[in-house]
């Protein structure tokens, strides 16, 4: 299972506590994880990436294994530790504004 940690506002929106655990078919990439996340929680559609272009929203970042993966290709494999559930995939609201 893939472990996803959402920022507080999105946990409230999706009405979840703590980590989200997702089953992902096929290669574990940003795209496949986000597809699975939005399929489970449709209200998150458009909050992390644009509905149409699927581009990451500018103030949303993706971290894992102490690395910023935000600028990686959405189809690049995520670290093995994320794929096997050892480490979570972190969705972070960038520090900006008030």
């Amino acid at each position: 299972m893939i472990r996803v940690v959402l920022p507080a506002h999105l946990r409230t929106l999706a009405r979840v506590d703590g980590e989200v655990k997702l089953a992902v078919d096929g290669p574990v990439t940003q795209r496949s994880v986000l597809d699975a996340l939005e399929a489970r929680y449709p209200m998150l559609g458009g909050t992390l990436r644009d509905h149409v272009t699927k581009q990451r929203r500018p103030f949303v970042r993706f971290f894992a294994c102490e690395e910023d993966l935000s600028h990686e290709s959405p189809d690049a494999p995520l670290p093995e530790a994320v794929a096997n559930g050892t480490e979570p995939f972190l969705v972070v609201g960038a520090i900006a504004g008030g």
Binding site: H9, L13, R57, F59
Partner: protein, 371 residues
């Protein structure tokens, strides 16, 4: 006994305030959607328990929330606002072409008849419609496709469609306003639109009498006289008596004719309210005094309403969607400030008292008159 429900959108959440017909004691709930900007919250005239809210943030974009119980509980509905076809360009601040990009929903206007039908005015300026309670949205692209679209330009707050007025006597007719394109009217339920800006005069644009390009801040209508509209333009308070075919200035003796809000008395169609703001460079009230101005003559002759409002050391603004009027007798008038106060008058503006004093900056105020 009748009740009122005031719906307040702020920079950091929404608040619902309820009172009986006396409008003296208030029950305040919120913040709903804490931490998010709530540009607008409005109830359906056809079902007062159906509310719609525009929730947005720079981080997570646009969300639309819907309530079926008067704001006690909410559910997120559709938030996909995709422009029809290839969006094209409008004019950017420096005069260059700039692609149309969806940013947020400024205003939600529920249908007068159907709780599941609601219109959305968005930035970059366009109008969307939902007929399934906000689950899905489609653009009324005839507006953005008006030939003048490539020449529209944003005001300082963005290129927003902020005002939607539905004609209660003619379901085919709607009025909208865009900063800074001007006012437009449709007579075929949104398929086609025409600019209705003749008579407006704006020194801030190259051709002061241009067909489009005016920074209209707000338009108001009394439901018994839908051909008469009142406008607070960037500068100038205006009125038309022929559905926008020609406007004339009615600023009269106002201390300044810059401002954002304008609204009409519930029972007197020639009684109107504005809150003058010092200037476009100084977005606060003149002379450090918070004064609502009322005209009982449809403009030109204005009286300051000050009882209960701060008359010294006050430097707040009142934004364009932040005034509302209930339909009790005497009608109540409500407005919210950028300082976080929401003021109410239960006597048509003669006297005022704060419902709350310390909210985040207020973006919008609406009121529902309930049985």
């Amino acid at each position: 006994m009748s009740k009122v429900r005031v719906l307040v959108g702020t920079r950091k959440g929404a608040f619902v305030m309820e009172s009986d017909g006396k409008r003296e004691r208030w029950n305040v709930s919120g913040p709903h959607f804490a931490g998010f900007e709530l540009y607008h919250v409005k109830g359906s005239p056809a079902d007062p328990n159906r509310l719609y809210a525009s929730q947005s943030s720079s981080w997570f974009g646009q969300l639309i929330q819907r309530s079926n119980d008067g704001g006690k509980t909410w559910e997120p509905v559709g938030n996909k606002f995709a422009y029809d076809g290839v969006p094209g360009t409008h004019q950017w601040y420096d005069g260059t072409p700039h692609p149309w990009e969806f940013k947020r929903v400024w205003h939600l206007e529920p249908s007068l008849e159907d709780p599941d039908t609601v219109y959305a005015g968005v930035e970059d300026a366009a109008m969307f419609k939902s007929t399934d309670g906000g689950q899905t949205w489609g653009e009324l692209s005839g507006l953005r496709g008006h030939g003048s679209g490539p020449h529209w330009a944003p005001g300082a707050g963005g290129m927003c469609l902020h005002t939607i007025l539905l004609d209660p006597s003619n379901p085919q007719r709607m009025f909208i306003a865009i900063s800074a394109a001007g006012a437009f009217r449709t007579d075929d339920a949104g398929k086609t639109w025409k600019p209705i800006n003749r008579g407006l005069h704006s020194q801030t644009i190259p051709d002061p009498d241009a067909e489009v390009g005016h920074c209209v801040h707000r338009i108001a209508m009394h439901r018994s006289r839908p051909n008469t509209l009142f406008m607070q333009k960037h500068w100038d308070v205006m009125r038309t008596d022929n559905a926008g075919e020609l406007w004339k200035e009615v600023s009269g003796n106002l201390p300044t004719d810059f401002g954002f809000v304008i609204d009409v008395h519930a029972h007197e169609p020639e009684t109107i309210y504005v809150v003058p703001i010092k200037s476009d460079g100084e977005h606060f009230v003149p002379d450090a005094k918070l004064r609502v101005y009322r005209s009982r003559t449809g403009g030109n002759e204005w009286e300051a309403l000050t009882k209960g409002l701060p008359q010294n050391d006050c430097y707040v603004n009142v934004l364009r969607d932040a005034m509302a009027i209930d339909s009790l007798d005497k009608c109540g008038v409500y407005f919210g400030t950028t300082g976080g106060q929401v003021y109410a008058s239960a006597d048509a503006g003669d006297s005022w008292a704060p419902i709350v004093r310390d909210l985040p900056a207020v973006l919008s105020v609406e009121v529902q008159t309930l049985p």
